[in-house]
Symmetry: C2
Subunit: 141 residues, 2 copies
Amino acid sequence: MDVVRLLAIRDTPLSVDEVMTAVADQAAGGTTVFVGTVRDHDHGKPVGALAYSAHPSAERELRRVAEKVAADFPVTALAAVHRIGELRLGDIAVIVAVAAAHRDEAFAASRRLIDDLKREVPIWKHQVFSDGTTEWVGAGE
Amino acid sequence: MDVVRLLAIRDTPLSVDEVMTAVADQAAGGTTVFVGTVRDHDHGKPVGALAYSAHPSAERELRRVAEKVAADFPVTALAAVHRIGELRLGDIAVIVAVAAAHRDEAFAASRRLIDDLKREVPIWKHQVFSDGTTEWVGAGE
C-alpha cells in the first residue's frame, strides 16, 4: 500500500478521525498528528475572522512535499489535509499525520511534513483583526 | 484553567477524540498528538498478544511528569492517557497531546511528555510472540 494515504485541500471542515483512519496500520507503533487551529490572537492582537486561499498549483505542491517526506523517512503511512475558505476561531485549518514503527521517525517526519507544507505549498491566510485591520500572510505561522 | 487537563490510566479503550477535546483551547494555534498502538512485530518477531500492568504509584508518577512538562514549556494545555490490561493488535496503548500557541512548543513538549512517560511512569508490557515466547519490558519501546 502506498505510504501517502490521504492528501486534500478542501473548503469543508476537517476531521482528525478521518486522518487517523487514513494512516492506521498494524505495522505502526506510533502515530504523530499535528492539528493547526485558528488562534484567537496573532502578533498580540485579537483575531476576528480568517480565510485561507490556495493557488491552483497547491494540490500538486502538497503531493510533491508529501512524497518527499515519504521517501526521506522510514515511515508506514502519512496524510495531510488543509482547509480553505472562511474559518472561525478554533476551527481546524490543517492536519498532518505520520505513522511509523517507532516514535522517533513519526515525530521527525511529521515535523518535516508540516514545516515543508507551510513553507512550500502556496496557501495564504487573510486575517481580519478585531480592530478592523487586515493582513495577508503565507500559511507559515 | 489548569494546563494539565486530563491524566488517566485505565483498562478500557482510549479515544483520540476525548484527548483532543480535553486540550482544545482558542489560545492554541497548534496541537500535537502522539498515539502509541500495538504493533504486529517487535525485535523482528510477530506479536500475538500483549498486556500492560501499572504499579500503584503510576498515576502519581504520571502527574509528576505532566506537571514538569507544563512548567518547563510555554504550552496552553496537555493530556496523557495510558491503557492497561489486555490489548489486541492495532489497539491504542497511550495518547499524549499538547496544545500551544505555536507548533515549535507543541512538538517539543509532546516529545518530552511521551519520552518521560515511557521512561519514568512504572507501566510494563508483557508480550506474547506468535512463536509462544514471552517477555516483560518497560513501557519504553
